[in-house]
């Protein structure tokens, strides 16, 4: 007699084999899917074998009699249907909709399956309900909380992008103060009704979401729109003087400390390169072509300086009057900034690359791209 466990795993094996055969017919390249399905077939077939040897799940433990009275109405068939619709629409509209359809479908099927199982767990409807909660609440609560928080945080970010910077600071202070007051109240009066606390939180969240919707509709504040239009960081001004836009919001901290290819130091009027693994300062660095390479510029000289990288002739054939350049912002004494190099062509007589200090072109580090 085949056990229930065996039937389950054998069913999965047959379905996986069918999926593999369909994949072979439908797709041109089956490398990844083929390997994945083959591994699945091996795994579930093995489990089926173990199940039949050990007769696992043969005997039905617990109650086998079910009552249709215990079966309640379910919204999950409806949600599953919605998931299928999203899935089908996604095939036509976009991969994002398709992905949402998959998420809805999987979530609804999981909920439906657990509900169906829990309603047959015993003759006691209360026990069945608690069994369902015990299984699903640890998943449902964090997911719903994450979704809710995500919506609130996103809405709050829309508000902060719309209001003036100083108003934003005030909003932060007010929000923090409200949280502090609410926390203090709950601490002082622990017997306060839970529904009151929940109502305060829900109202606060709804207020933020409403504010976020209004802010998203009205758009970002003027200086952010201006910054986007001016392209502060895309149209860099790499001269020795302070530029109007590029140097407006100078980086004052540097999180990128590890994983840099070289540290370029402007010290005692000299430009040197420190490479991890080499003791002595270098006058050239090697950069792998077509590969994003991070370097750090450290200004150890009195005054503000920027590091510029000369990237050779521009890609456009019509414009050979000047070389392409990229640069850091002006860096104050003792300050650091990172610069990412990505050079596609190897060094040659035509493509000569170098790092130099703006306004002091004789202070150079050669960039070799082999």
């Amino acid at each position: 007699m085949f056990s229930t466990g065996f039937k389950y795993f054998m069913g999965m094996t047959v379905l996986s084999v069918a999926a593999l055969i369909m994949t072979l017919f439908v797709f041109d390249q089956v490398a990844l899917a083929g390997v994945a399905l083959s591994m699945l077939i091996v795994a579930v077939a093995l489990l089926a074998g173990i199940a039949v040897v050990t007769r696992d799940g043969y005997r039905q433990s617990g109650v086998t009699e079910q009552s249709t009275d215990l079966v309640s109405q379910s919204i999950w068939p409806l949600v599953t249907g919605i998931g299928v619709v999203f899935l089908a629409l996604g095939l036509v509209i976009s991969s994002l909709v398709f992905f949402v359809g998959i998420v809805i479908l999987l979530a609804a099927l999981a909920e439906w399956m657990v509900q169906s199982w829990s309603e047959r767990a015993s003759k006691d409807a209360n026990y069945n309900a608690s069994a369902r909660k015990r299984l699903l609440n640890p998943i449902e609560f964090p997911v719903l909380a994450a979704l809710g928080l995500g919506i609130v945080i996103f809405s709050f970010s829309r508000i902060m992008l719309t209001v003036d910077k100083s108003v934003g600071a005030v909003l932060f202070i007010v929000a923090g103060a409200l949280v502090l007051i609410a926390g203090t109240l709950f601490a002082i009066k622990p017997n306060m009704r839970r529904s009151l606390g929940a109502a305060v939180c829900v109202l606060g969240a709804l207020g933020i979401v409403a504010g976020g919707v209004v802010s998203a509709v009205s758009g970002e504040r003027e200086d952010l729109e201006l910054a986007a239009a001016e392209g502060h960081f895309t149209h860099k001004e790499c001269g020795p003087e302070e530029s109007e836009y590029f140097d407006k919001l100078k980086e004052e901290t540097l999180s990128l400390r590890s994983s840099v290819s070289a540290t370029i130091i402007y010290q005692d009027g000299e430009l040197i390169a420190n490479l991890q693994g080499l003791d002595k300062p270098q006058k050239s660095i090697t950069v792998s072509r077509s590969s994003a390479t991070n370097i750090i510029f450290r200004n150890a000289t009195e005054g503000e300086f920027r590091l510029v990288v000369d990237l050779g002739k521009p890609k456009t054939e019509n414009d050979d009057s000047h070389n392409d350049v990229d640069c850091t912002q002006l860096v104050e004494t003792g300050g650091e900034q990172s610069l990412t190099l990505n050079i596609a062509k190897s060094s040659s007589a035509e493509n000569h690359y170098k790092l130099f200090i703006a306004g002091a072109e004789d202070k150079q580090i050669e960039v070799v791209v082999p």
Binding site: G277, R289, S291
Partner: protein, 416 residues
């Protein structure tokens, strides 16, 4: 329990287990065990993690041997206990035994013992990790860049090793013995992982990051490796070899890599091959010093044709023993065996001899030039390049004639 009683008990236990599993299962188990033991006796295992050939790999080996022994014993105990329980207590319709809960003394003991074992292992593991992460005693650095599905090596200027101009190579990493080499790894496309088991552990090569890995070889030799981070269709074909040469031989290798380009003889087949190379191959592959007919240097543009933005530099191709991401040998089987099986005293000279016409693996090289994607899966179908903006991941089919292939082979043989 005295010794004979224990012996009797164990005998009964084994007998009862064997009786339970049945003769067919016993046979199956026996065959599996024999296969497992036979597999562990393989002599041709160049990527064996149990045979360290350098101090870094030895450090790992000294750690993993005792840990493996302890883990093995624990694993065996657990496996036997599980199998015994499954077979002994399988459902035969017997009543469910009384369920008990809570044995504080046992639970505390079973928590403390693993914790102590893990604490001891952790002390030695952290010690080894910190030693392997050291970079301040580096003697030589080599930049290693991974891309689908080959490794590029570039040697920055290091005058103390005679490297006065950057050297670029691929497939085989050449290094001097007894030298603390620091690899600075990165990637041009997806995450790869560099692993030469005989010389050290693995290190991921991540786009936009520089990760370091120490290598040092005790004796001259060739050590095989394999990308160990799944990186796409031909991940299994992304191999590498580290070639450790004596310091004198390494100096010769450096001198050869920095030698100027020598154009093929006039009116030779190789010269015709150079023309084919300029017409076809130079779109992606760089040969340093190669000039076009108009006297301008031939600069490859892999960034315009290849998704990763790079293709192997072929300047001294025939000084290497492999091609196509070390997937194929440039040497014929006999010549390859002569190099791989050479003693540590003679391997340097044999390796530095490079690939001669007699030793060339014509079959694989010609097949590669004839239709590369047929030999190594590379998403190189021109009708399926939408995702990469029309760029190839790997070498495409070039529709070369047999005549052109012969010319190219003759030209490539000159690139020593």
């Amino acid at each position: 329990m005295n010794h004979s009683a224990k012996h009797l008990y164990l005998k009964r236990l084994v007998t009862s287990v064997l009786r339970m599993v049945g003769k067919k299962s016993q046979t199956l188990f026996g065959v599996s065990l024999l296969s497992f033991i036979a597999a562990s006796c393989a002599t041709n295992a160049p990527q064996d993690t149990w045979q360290p050939k350098g101090p870094n790999a030895k450090l790992i080996d000294d750690l993993q041997q005792p840990v493996f022994a302890v883990a093995g014993v624990i694993g065996l105990i657990v496996a036997v206990a599980v199998i015994y329980s499954v077979l002994k207590y399988k459902d035969r319709g017997q009543p469910i035994p009384e369920q008990t809960h809570g044995k504080p003394a046992l639970e505390i003991t079973l928590t403390i013992i693993p914790a102590l074992i893990l604490a001891v292992v952790a002390v030695f593991t952290f010690g080894a990790i910190f030693k392997l992460a050291k970079t301040d005693d580096t003697e030589m650095i080599i930049n290693v860049t991974g891309q689908q599905w080959w490794w590029e090596y570039d040697y920055p200027v290091q005058n103390e090793f005679g490297i006065t101009q950057p050297i670029i190579s691929s497939g085989q990493l050449v290094m001097p013995v007894g030298t603390k080499v620091l690899l600075r790894e990165t990637s041009r496309d997806v995450i790869h992982s560099y692993w030469i088991p005989a010389l050290n552990g693995k290190r991921d090569a991540v786009p936009g990051r520089i990760q370091t890995l120490r290598l040092e070889a005790d004796k001259p030799g060739i050590f095989a490796g394999q990308c160990t981070e799944f990186c796409g269709l031909s991940h299994a074909n992304m191999r590498m070899e580290a070639v450790a040469l004596s310091k004198a031989d390494f100096a010769k290798w450096v001198a050869n890599q920095q030698a100027a380009y020598v154009a093929p003889e006039k009116d030779s087949l190789a010269q015709q091959g150079e023309a084919v190379f300029l017409n076809q191959c130079v779109r992606c592959h760089q040969v340093n010093g190669l000039m076009r007919a108009d006297g301008t240097p031939a600069i490859a543009a892999p960034d315009e044709n290849v998704w990763a933005g790079a293709a192997p530099n072929l300047t001294h191709l025939m000084s290497r023993n492999t091609f196509a991401g070390a997937s194929f040998d440039l040497l014929s089987k006999q010549c390859r065996d002569e190099v791989w099986n050479a003693s540590s005293d003679t391997i340097g000279a044999k390796y530095l001899a490079g690939v001669s016409q007699d030793c060339l693996n014509q079959k694989d090289l010609r097949s590669w030039l004839r239709n590369a994607p047929e030999m190594k899966p590379m998403y190189a179908n021109p009708t399926q390049l939408e995702a990469t903006g029309g760029k190839y991941r790997g070498m495409p089919y070039l529709a070369l004639s047999e005549d052109d292939i012969s010319k190219l082979v003759a030209y490539l043989l000159t690139l020593k």
